[in-house]
Point group: C2
Chain length 218, copies 2
């Protein structure tokens, strides 16, 4: 791995473990056993490292939430498609949890990053609506266009805010995989009462799947 990528990965690990506020560029250099000068050769400051992490995150958002082509969708059981998207949400929330935990604060310090964030979210929103449209075409949900849009937004709010919401309510501040699995369950719970009978069966299957993850990690 190139030094530049090692710095981005090392910083991400430390931010997730200790909170971004508690980590300086010196901590990152020490963690990677490189000199601060070497780090500064690649990144002028911590904000630039955060931008590097964000670019990876935005790239993952783009790839993981690309709507499927119609032909592709028809060859795959819809429960498996749902599972793959939910697992993607889990991966992003877990791997970038420092970002979810302190989003307003991080964005408020860097106007350019905020613009990148807004742009990435707009592209994501279009993709999410296309994905939800796919589930409607597969007969899992039966909603009008405006209701589908609104459901997509609700799911996006739950995913974006879950870590924040949980952190505020937990006396132990540490985010665990367990608490993120509970977020997946909450999203499934949002959809279940408005799913079709066929959709409901598949959602219950997915709920059992994530429930077993929660139990296993307790």
């Amino acid at each position: 791995m190139k030094t530049k990528d090692r710095i981005i990965h090392g910083a991400l690990t430390l931010f997730n473990q200790n909170g971004e506020r508690n980590i300086t560029t010196n901590h990152i250099a020490a963690h990677l056993e490189i000199s601060p000068g070497n780090l500064y050769y690649h990144f002028r400051n911590k904000e630039e490292i955060i931008n590097g992490i964000f670019d990876n995150y935005a790239q993952e958002l783009k790839v993981r939430f690309k709507p499927m082509a119609k032909e592709e969708q028809s060859t795959m059981p819809s429960v498996q498609i749902m599972l793959s998207y939910l697992d993607s949400i889990f991966e992003l929330m877990w791997n970038y949890r420092f970002f979810y935990a302190n989003l307003p604060d991080i964005l408020s310090r860097d106007e350019a990053l905020k613009l990148k964030y807004v742009k990435a979210q707009a592209a994501l929103n279009d993709n999410l609506i296309a994905i939800m449209n796919g589930f409607r075409d597969s007969g899992l949900i039966a909603l009008k266009d405006d209701e589908l849009k609104s459901l997509t937004k609700t799911l996006h709010i739950v995913a974006s805010c879950w870590i924040n919401y949980q952190t505020a309510l937990l006396s132990d501040k540490e985010i665990t995989e367990n608490s993120i699995y509970q977020g997946m369950l909450q999203m499934l719970n949002v959809v279940r009462p408005i799913a079709t009978e066929q959709g409901r069966v598949q959602i219950l299957e997915l709920e059992a799947h994530y429930q077993s993850r929660v139990s296993a990690s307790n």
Copy 2:
């Protein structure tokens, strides 16, 4: 008004206008035209003032989201009951917007405040479930117990996170009454697809009400 209450009110105004991070006890004293010494006589530091604000907020949560007695509920049209709760959510989000905007950060600095928050939220949660039960008894929604609980949680997430979610997405950081009215609409949108026919009519009525507020403030 007593000096102590004036300080709490003045601080709340300044926090909401400028963000809590940008306001010191000196700003608060200057705003109220009192000496810093006078302020310190009542509050040892900014955290104590924030605690004072929080106590008022928790008291409002308790009073505003008290479930209605059965007899009381039967004498009032349910659309009016819903409107009164939604207006309460609006008032709290608007009047304490600095708190919603930076909750994880504020709580992370004060362990005692965090405990108070967790306790207030647990009491609120019980009340919200009782309120939603009342709407089920009135025939507005038809959900099983676990679905009702989960719907209540989703609404709580949307209300708790709305300001945060909006702030991250808006290029202009300022929270306006308009953006909070849009939060009311999002909450109504969550409920609409799972409402009964009777409930749906009332929700559409409330959506029109808040939609007109949004248009009026544009």
